[in-house]
């Protein structure tokens, strides 16, 4: 049966059969001839009523109309469902709220994401379907309406394409609003342009089919740009491929549809078979919308993580790449919006509290001023590149050569100030490496002066860091050696000295050239001057030269100090002398630099005293906030970079200290080394100097890298030479003892606070080694007791070594106690017990020392029996050695002070330890806990102290004046220490303290009971740890 007839015979059509027949292509009016491959079943010139009724009829547009109507209805349902949050239907496109998968037991958090892009898309689609349905339904009415509706249809398609971009672009670039705006604006503009083109009437004609197609394809293909962008940005997101797949499918379907439309396949291939003009376009349209939806569903199913991870990538990538890439099981997630919404639920100052998140955890999580935790820390630049782009560190520093040199000198000076600040215990990242030039070493090679200076600074830093970290003298200054993330080492840095030499040579020549008298200038004119202003040439050359030379010599000093076995010490001293000379020259250049300040005047707000440069100018290329994220795990300390003058002073002190280290004779005596360190510490040397002393003293577990510690101990303990051949040095206890001796030397090189704590800890070890040695030696003694000669020898070793260990122990204890004065750990009311303990320890120390010296001299006597000079010694033998007598002075002072203070307590009621919560005993226990634990000395407790001081009275004290005794011995001893400057100073101090205290004692004992207004206080103006009594009338 003919299809036309069948249609015509349908009951509804019967009435208008003649009036509204279905036509063939040839019969159509000209304006409707659009697709010559669709041959039959056209409606033409139908009334509006009939056209509406034809909705339910069968013709070549039926499928077109119905597919669009159904599409419209489907989208309408989705929109309504989404608006009413009807979850069952809508949850696959429900973007409004995501439930965060919670495995931590915290309440699920909800995130509000704007839904408007989705609605725009839904509305656009609905508009498209409606317009298309209307077009297909009513275009058969008239030419005018046909033209109008076709335009509407094309506009609908354009609108749909545009709006279909809104959700993907919006959600993909949610964290990068700039791109959101860029892409959405572009697509909107493109769409509006397309609509304008499409609305010009002549374009509706069939021959413009190709132009229309191009417009639509162009709009569709535009989507490729944000898609590629998003793909690159989200490369590490696991869902990348899925998203990419859907996006490609969408693009593909657009293209397929456009192709069908443009080529009019399949009608073209089999004209007459298809009733569906625009089925292809519809396919495209449906494919597009469904893929967009599926894609969104994907996002929803993956929950917050995927969405957030995309967002995170977008925000973080432009700033920095995450150092840890996403794995199969992990993704990077930006939880900022999640936290935002959680924060909105919290009141100011409220804390989250859960079973596994208590207040302590909350406290630990919040580190105020920790740059990693505290987002509130403000930085001028957030990356080095940003700073460089902003012109914070130009190379050259200026195109004017004179200004360039001047700025370079400022950089050098500021760097010196930074270096001193770093040495004083601040972090490297916040001091030297606040220099942007140092942070980007690859930029500097074009500027010879800058490059060589940066290189030598890096090398110097490395040398200092290695010295400090090798010596481990920096326990509490741990900021010092943290270098993570800083470009400290660069290939070619080892050439820094040759680079400096070349530069020094050049500038010397330039200096020579400008100094040369004018008639000679011609001959040397080929030398290019350092800068352009010839009047200032000499000054600038000198200023640069002394700075470069200082760096060179300083680096040499550091290298020489590290030579094994102290072989470089002499050379180091020469370089130290040169360094100090150069520092003087540097100081002299200040006047010149200030006069030729690059602004020609003082900078505002810059006090000349506070300036970090000689010229008083702010240096170029520094930003201390840049590295705040790299600095130590502790909060950054408030940094005030040393002023330039202070920095120079610091280096002068450092060099003097290092000179003293170098001047120390390589003396294999243990006692000498100990005494040297203690004397050195009195100068309060800083970390760098102390580290070098320690490295010099202990190398490879040997004293000065030369003498094994065992030999050193043998010498110190006066053990006969024969012992060295015995097996005892392999004995475990001896190995341990050697380690303890090394540790002691190292501890003495640390700062006072740390030193005291460590000394207190090792006391116990020395006590234990004493016991172990006692057992070990007794065993040895029993085994080798077969021969009488050995027996004698072993007894000697046994006695000497144990005596030496005890002497060391008491020496450590004494140092532990007196460091308390240096650190101001004792209150005046506690002086009494402290001096009593010092007195007790000193007695023991003196005892052991005397014993050792007697044994020593016996050994020496035996050796030197045949020598004539020894006769004199024999005559003097019964006398006590001067070192012991010096100790005796100190014992008298300690005893005198103890009894004087206790008499004051007993008779005047002052200096008593009374508190509401505890008694003097608790203070005693706390102060001497470590000594008591190690039984140093044995059988001493608070009760011993109490009994000793309980009956102290002034009238008995005055009878045996300890201070007078101390003064007398000190005077006599002067002659014994003629060559020892340190001992003479000590004696003088002791005399002064003894004299003053003797007078005070007399005064108080005579007048004290009569004059109650007499007040006694104690000061340390004559001796660092023996107090002087000051008596005043209040």
């Amino acid at each position: 049966m003919d299809e036309t007839e069948f249609l015509n015979s349908s009951p509804t059509e019967k009435k208008g059969r003649n009036k509204f027949p279905l036509l063939r292509y040839e019969e159509l009016p000209e304006y409707m001839k659009d697709n010559e491959y669709i041959l039959n079943y056209y409606r033409a010139e139908w009334s509006l009523n009939h056209a509406f009724v034809s909705l339910f009829l069968c013709h070549n547009e039926s499928l077109n109309i119905w597919t669009h109507v159904i599409g419209f209805v489907a989208f309408l349902i989705l929109t309504v469902a989404n608006l009413t949050e009807f979850y069952q239907v809508a949850d696959f496109i429900n973007l409004s709220k995501w439930v965060f998968p919670s495995d931590t037991g915290t309440p699920p958090a909800l995130i509000d994401t704007p839904r408007w892009p989705l609605f725009i898309f839904l509305c656009g689609s609905m508009f498209c379907f409606v317009s298309s349905s209307l077009c297909h339904l009513f275009s058969c009415h008239s030419q005018h309406l046909n033209c109008l509706l076709s335009q509407l249809d094309y506009v609908g398609i354009a609108v749909m394409i545009i709006t279909s971009f809104f959700p993907p672009i919006y959600y993909l670039f949610q964290c990068d609003t700039i791109w959101q705006y860029v892409y959405l604006t572009t697509i909107s503009i493109l769409g509006i342009l397309a609509v304008i083109i499409l609305l010009s009437p002549k374009r509706t004609r069939g021959k413009y089919r190709f132009i229309r197609t191009i417009i639509f394809v162009a709009m569709g293909l535009f989507g490729v740009i944000p898609m590629i962008h998003a793909t690159i940005v989200n490369w590490n997101v696991p869902q990348r491929n899925i998203t990419l797949g859907f996006e490609s499918a969408m693009a593909f379907s657009y293209l397929i549809g456009a192709m069908f439309y443009a080529t009019r396949v399949p009608e073209k291939w089999k004209p007459g078979c298809s009733k569906n003009t625009q089925a292809a376009f519809d396919t495209q349209r449906f494919a597009a919308s469904s893929f967009v939806i599926v894609e969104m569903e994907e996002n929803i199913n993956n929950g917050v993580e995927e969405q957030e991870s995309e967002n995170h990538e977008q925000t973080s990538v432009p700033v920095l790449n995450p150092s840890i890439p996403s794995g199969e099981q992990t993704v990077w997630a930006d939880v900022a919006s999640l936290l935002d919404s959680a924060c909105n639920d919290l009141q100011d100052g409220e804390l989250i509290h859960g079973d596994n998140f208590n207040l302590f955890a909350a406290m630990s999580a919040l580190e105020i001023m920790d740059p990693k935790m505290d987002s509130g820390i403000v930085c001028r630049y957030y990356s080095v590149d940003e700073a460089i782009e902003d012109g914070a560190a130009p190379i050259p520093l200026s195109f004017n050569k004179t200004v360039d040199v001047h700025c370079m000198i400022d950089v050098m000076d500021h760097m010196l100030s930074c270096e001193a600040t770093w040495h004083k215990g601040h972090s490297l990242a916040q001091t030297i490496f606040s220099c942007i030039y140092l942070l980007r070493p690859d930029r500097t090679p074009s500027h010879a002066l800058l490059h060589s200076y940066c290189t030598v600074i890096r090398s110097t830093c490395n040398a200092v860091i290695s010295a400090v970290s090798d010596s481990r003298t920096h326990e509490e200054e741990d900021l010092f050696t943290i270098t993570s993330g800083l470009p400290l080492k660069r290939d070619g840095d080892e050439k820094c000295l040759s680079m400096l030499n070349v530069l020094e040579e050049t500038i010397s020549r330039q200096l020579h050239a400008c100094k040369a008298p004018s008639h000679k200038k011609r001959s040397i004119e080929d030398i290019e001057p350092l800068q352009t202003n010839l009047d200032l040439e000499e000054g600038y050359c000198k200023a640069v030269l002394c700075r470069l030379r200082f760096r060179k010599h300083f680096y040499h000093v550091l290298l020489c100090l590290r030579r094994p076995q102290g072989r470089g010490l002499e050379l180091a001293r020469k370089h130290i002398a040169s360094c100090l000379l150069e520092l003087d020259s540097i100081l002299k250049t200040e006047e010149f630099l200030r006069a030729n300040n690059r602004n020609g005047m003082w900078e505002d707000g810059m006090e000349s005293e506070d300036s970090t440069t000689a010229s008083g100018c702010q240096p170029i290329g520094f930003d201390s906030t840049l590295n705040s994220r790299l600095s130590a795990p502790t909060p950054p300390r408030a940094i005030k970079v040393f002023c330039w003058k202070k920095a120079v002073e610091y280096f002068q002190k450092l060099l003097h200290d290092l000179d003293i280290v170098c001047s120390h004779p390589i003396d294999p005596l243990h006692e000498g080394a100990l005494r040297f360190v203690v004397e050195f510490q009195k100068l309060q040397p800083d970390l760098v100097a102390r580290s070098h002393l320690q490295l010099l003293l202990v190398q490879d577990g040997k004293l000065f890298g030369r003498d094994p510690i065992f030999t050193m101990i043998c010498k110190a303990a006066a053990i006969p030479e024969l012992a060295k051949n015995l097996d005892i040095q392999k004995n475990e206890s001896f190995v341990h003892l050697c380690q303890l001796a090394i540790t002691l030397l190292k501890i003495l090189c640390t700062n006072a606070a740390w030193q005291r704590r460590q000394l207190g800890k090792v006391l116990q070890d020395w006590r234990i080694i004493h016991m172990q040695l006692e057992i070990a030696l007794r065993k040895e003694f029993e085994e080798s007791s077969s021969t009488s000669l050995d027996e004698n020898l072993c007894m000697k070793i046994y006695k000497n070594i144990l005596n030496w260990v005890e002497e060391q122990t008491y020496w450590i204890a004494f140092r532990f106690l007196i460091l308390g004065f240096e650190l101001e750990l004792y209150a005046p009311s506690e002086y009494c017990m402290v001096y009593w303990y010092i007195y007790v320890i000193l007695i023991k120390l003196g005892e052991k020392m005397h014993l050792r010296m007697i044994t020593n001299s016996e050994t020496a006597k035996r050796k030197g029996k045949k020598k004539r000079e020894s006769m004199k010694d024999v005559a003097r033998e019964p006398a006590i050695p001067p070192a012991v007598l010096l100790l005796q002075c100190q014992i008298y002072l300690a005893e005198g002070l103890t009894l004087m203070i206790s008499a004051l307590r007993n008779e005047h009621g002052v200096f008593q330890c009374r508190g509401p919560f505890n008694s003097e005993q608790e203070r005693f226990i706390q102060h001497f806990e470590l000594l008591q634990k190690a039984c140093i000395p044995d059988h001493v407790s608070y009760y011993t102290f109490r009994d000793y001081t309980a009956h102290s009275q002034f009238d008995t004290l005055i009878m045996c004046n300890y201070f007078k005794e101390a003064q007398r011995i000190a005077k006599e001893l002067r002659g014994s220490f003629v060559n020892d400057k340190n001992k003479l100073t000590e004696l003088r101090h002791i005399e002064q303290v003894a004299e003053h205290n003797g007078i005070a004692l007399n005064l108080v004992s005579r007048l004290g009971s009569l004059d109650p207004s007499l007040k006694v206080s104690f000061e340390f103006n004559h001796h660092p740890h023996f107090a002087t009594a000051v008596v005043k009338r209040s």
Partner: protein, 196 residues
Amino acid sequence: MEETTTPDGSIVDESEIEYVSYAGEHHLPLIMRLVDEELSEPYSIFTYRYFVYLWPNLSFLAFHKGKCIGTVVSKMGEHRNTFRGYIAMLVVLKPYRHRGIATELVTRSIKVMMESGCEEVTLEAEVTNKGALALYGRLGFIRAKRLFRYYLNGVDAFRLKLLFPHQELPSSHPYPHSNTVMSSVLESYAAHELGP
């Protein structure tokens, strides 16, 4: 000195000072204001909450005519096998100093610690803070350690310690620790009860 004059001219009578234990949220802003004004270290609100929520019984405030003029904030807990108290913040407004208000505040807090079974009390003070060092010295604290560059401003600190006497003297007691160990266990249990 019984009576002194405040900057605004009114006379402070020692008996007018009122001491109260921390009694809830309304006290928190008072404490925060005082500490922010007078101490060098910056603290966040969470630091305050940590202390006053877990150990409200150790925090005290001093009021004069309704104005909060001083406060003490402390904690206590196990530390290396000893049960110790820790005084975190002690503040008295400048015009009200030198009349025993700080001593009274800190004494109240230490008393609670002692009754709760603490063996010792510790705190840190800047070496330059002579007033605080003298105050704690009078209460029986010793300077146990010097902490090198302890504070953010680069100043050294002293670690101060107050050891409470043992119940019985160690020399006469055969097992000097049994008693205190037991009580500290009980007290630490009690202390946990106080927690959230």
